[in-house]
């Protein structure tokens, strides 16, 4: 490939994403009625929303990490733990699980009449910061477990042996071997979880419980849907995007490490573990199992218990709708993400800073609140086309744009490494365009399948966009659950949640490679 700085064509692949954002902003700016009121930033409502957003994200992040560490350590030091492979699959499932499945499970377990709610005289309240934290920990701790475990696995066996030979104490082993192995990943992991919780919508929407537990994303939604106040929405989204972006930047994000590496290798440390420690590890492992499994089991039991009327048609319709939108969005997002990496890869070796810009452009939808794009688009298109008829294509496109950053994040390390190794060979052999495509295509196909599954699972969990565009008479599964759970028809919500859970599990199963990579 030519490495001319002046190459323009690669930048064209970023056009769809940039265009999408432009349309959104244009739509918002042109449709607003009120002028920008900067005094809004001094309104106690704004201040408390901002504070709460930061507080819940920070707490969620810290809790998730602190709780994940013992689990990762248990996995590392106890190779004989029962059902490890299933546990790993469970963590993958918990991480990508659509929020509403979890929320339904939590409501069954800990809602007002919940199975586990023993508060007396008053039941423990699921609504508020405590509910939000609980849900966030559930959704993010598994990712932290996987990353920390993988980090610990990367410690060479010699180090473990040496630590044993030198009779290092537990604390010494932690500070000399474990912590250094984990440290490089903690920053990015924490930043990532923070941003996920910061941008979280479904959880705060259902478990927040009122204005004092409002996050920026929810406030944007409310400004748009309740007040139709587009200026306020824009101001809020600027704040949200700036904070999310800064956090990722501050963590030194340059796309170096891949957090989502789907396969996790198992390598025993060979260390002997004391009886007391072994007991501790087993206990932690068991608790983690129970914690992750409970909401899922709750949903299953509630859905299948007799006395629940079977849903039938509405459920199937919602499933069909979800699949239609998710599959289409994933089909668009995966090739688009691949294409959008082109400029970043092109400049990687030679002009690193330009490459970084290209990568940020490809990823920028990760920090722009989804709702803002959604409403901007709504405002832009509502006067130009019939929104009700076009709701599905619009939803597909918007969902695809939201998925692209995940695709990019997954593909980039793989492709950059491949480029480094084979750039010169390609310069040597000078394949024509067709051959060039063939070479890369055959390389990437094994990765595309799990990637497609990941994109599909994420798309199934969509909520915010449907909240805006969806026809409430043709809901997706998540919206269907939302309406049922919201009106406390938990048994019906559980059925829909179970369906969603089954779909997600199937996709996870498809995603985790069951055989070693031939590379």
């Amino acid at each position: 490939m030519a490495f001319s700085r002046r190459a323009v064509i690669p930048w064209l692949t970023l056009l769809p994403a940039v265009l999408a954002s432009t349309i959104a902003v244009w739509g918002l700016l042109s449709a607003r009625r009120e002028s920008f009121d900067l005094g809004f930033f001094t309104d106690p409502y704004f201040v408390s929303t901002l504070t709460f957003s930061l507080k819940q994200a920070a707490l969620s992040c810290v809790l998730a990490l602190l709780l994940a560490l013992p689990v990762a350590r248990a996995l590392t030091f106890m190779p004989q733990l029962f059902g490890r492979r299933w546990f790993m699959t469970l963590t993958a499932l918990a991480f990508v699980m659509p929020s509403f499945v979890l929320i339904t499970g939590l409501m069954i377990l800990l809602g007002a009449n919940g199975w586990l709610n023993f508060g007396d005289p008053r039941p423990w309240s699921l609504f508020g910061l405590q509910g939000i934290l609980l849900a966030h920990v559930y959704l993010n701790m598994p990712l932290a477990v996987r990353v920390l475990y993988q980090a610990l696995q990367s410690v060479p066996q010699d180090s473990w042996r040496l630590s044993q030979q030198h009779r290092l104490t537990g604390w010494q082993r932690w500070s000399h071997i474990e912590w250094p192995a984990i440290k490089p990943h903690v920053g990015l992991l924490a930043a990532f979880i923070f941003v996920l919780c910061f941008n979280s919508f479904a959880v705060v929407l259902t478990l927040g419980g009122g204005p004092k537990s409002t996050t920026l994303e929810l406030a944007i939604y409310q400004a748009l849907k309740y007040d139709f106040n587009l200026s306020e929405a824009l101001l809020l989204s600027v704040v949200q995007a700036v904070i999310a972006g800064s956090v990722l930047l501050a963590a030194g994000y340059s796309g170096k490490s891949s957090l989502f590496r789907i396969a996790v290798q198992h390598r025993p440390t060979g260390l002997a573990v004391s009886v007391a420690n072994a007991l501790g590890h087993r206990l932690v492992y068991a608790v983690a199992w129970v914690f992750l499994l409970l909401p899922i089991v709750a949903v299953m039991i509630k859905a299948l218990s007799h006395g629940t009327q079977l849903q039938g048609i509405p459920l199937l319709a919602a499933t069909g709708q979800s699949l239609l939108i998710a599959v289409s969005a994933a089909l668009v997002a995966v090739p688009l993400g691949w294409l959008m990496l082109w400029p970043a890869r092109h400049f990687q070796g030679t002009h690193a800073r330009i490459a970084l810009w290209a990568e940020w452009l490809a990823l920028h939808h990760m920090v722009i609140p989804t709702l803002v794009i959604g409403v901007g688009w709504f405002a832009f298109w509502v006067s130009r086309i019939d929104i009700n008829r076009a709701s599905i294509p619009l939803l597909v496109m918007l969902n695809a744009l939201v998925l692209v950053p995940f695709v990019v994040l997954q593909l980039k390390p793989l492709l950059v490494l491949w480029d480094q190794q084979h750039r010169r060979l390609l310069g040597n052999w000078r394949p024509n365009l067709w051959h060039r495509f063939f070479i890369e295509w055959t390389f990437i196909v094994p990765t595309l399948k799990p990637l497609f599954a990941l994109a599909l699972v994420l798309a199934l969990g969509d909520v915010p966009l449907f909240a805006l565009f969806g026809q409430s008479d043709q809901p997706t599964l998540t919206w269907y659950i939302y309406r049922l759970a919201g009106s406390y028809r938990l048994d019906q919500a559980a059925q829909a949640a179970l369906m969603l859970l089954l779909l997600s599990s199937l996709l996870i199963y498809w995603m985790e490679p069951r055989h070693a990579n031939r590379r």
Partner: protein, 326 residues
């Protein structure tokens, strides 16, 4: 051999082209749920109009209003059903409705209805509903509610007509110290729900001691569930009324059919359906009401100036928001 294209043209001629007219009615979700008035009214009306009634639900009345604003001129709505007396001025100001041309002389005299664009179809009074087995001495005012340290649920004034009604009620009773009341209620609040049904169902599941609802809500439990334990707490300072209304959308392509629907709404047969499905009081005289509804009219009612509401609502919402956010 007929080609596929010719077949397509032929079938278009053979199959009858006439399709029944569709009347699209925007309303709130609980109206069209299986236990709401929607299904029965649909059957009754479709029998007389030879048309197809299509309900489109939103979370609550105010949410419906917001949806209309967002849709603008492209809206498919013919009839807007579920706004109330407190927010209809807003709909008028935004030119979302057109005159209905319906004869409203049948509407009960005490409602003094003269609006040319909106037709009322039921009414009730806002009140805090509680479980008599959990609360033996109910609150009689907002202050005593705050002092009782009970758990309460109410709806978001930005999306829900009862929530909006609560906001108006508080500002009517405490024009200068509404903030104080909101702040007092804040620690008692279990959750602020988006729509009426979400909050109410949480209450029914034991989620709180009081829920903001209507004086007619207990009637549901008495009649439908033979359950006497729920009651509405009468406030000595008075309650405000919510009159639910319907109107023809300004963008409707079928104003005549829509007008026919509105007339139908205040007809005796439709009004007979309302009390035991929407659990609100009928707007015409002569509808037989079960004794369970006897307590539905409070001793003291307050009048509200709709124009004042329209002008102050933004400030009131901002004040509520700021007061409870801290």
């Amino acid at each position: 051999m007929i080609s596929l294209r010719q077949l397509a043209w032929l079938s278009a001629l053979i199959v009858p082209v006439s399709v029944a007219q569709t009347l699209t009615v925007y309303t709130y979700d609980s109206f069209v749920s299986e236990w709401g008035p929607g299904p029965q009214l649909e059957t009754l009306f479709e029998a007389q109009c030879d048309c197809d009634l299509n309900f489109v639900g939103s979370a609550d009345g105010v949410a419906m209003l917001n949806r209309l604003r967002l849709e603008g001129k492209k809206t498919q709505a013919d009839v807007l059903l579920g706004l109330d007396n407190l927010i209809l001025e807003q709909a008028k100001r935004e030119q979302l409705v057109q005159p209905h041309g319906v004869d409203t002389s049948a509407v009960s005299a005490h409602l003094e209805w003269t609006d040319a664009e909106f037709v009322p179809f039921d009414y009730g009074y806002f009140a805090w509903v509680y479980d008599t087995t959990r609360i033996t001495t109910p609150a009689t005012s907002f202050e005593s509610l705050i002092a009782s340290d009970a758990r309460i649920i109410y709806q978001d004034p930005r999306t829900s007509t009862p929530g909006f009604g609560l906001m108006v009620w508080i500002n009517q009773l405490y024009p200068d110290s509404a903030n104080h009341i909101w702040k007092g209620l804040a620690p008692l609040t279990e959750t602020v729900s988006q729509g009426w049904w979400e909050g109410y169902s949480l209450f029914l599941n034991g989620g709180a001691d009081y829920v903001l609802s209507y004086t007619t809500s207990p009637a549901y439990h008495i009649l439908a569930e033979s359950d006497q334990r729920y009651a509405a707490a009468p406030f000595s300072a008075g309650h405000i009324a919510q009159i639910e209304v319907a109107a023809i959308s300004a963008q409707s392509q079928q104003p005549a059919l829509a007008s026919q629907f509105l007339s139908f709404l205040i007809s005796p047969e439709a009004q007979a359906v309302i009390p035991t499905t929407n659990w609100m009081l009928p707007v015409i005289d002569g509808v037989a009401l079960d004794p369970a509804f006897d307590g539905a009219a409070p001793e003291r009612t307050l009048t509200v100036d709709p124009l004042q509401v329209l002008n102050e609502k933004t400030n009131w919402i901002r004040a509520w928001r700021s007061a409870v956010a801290q």
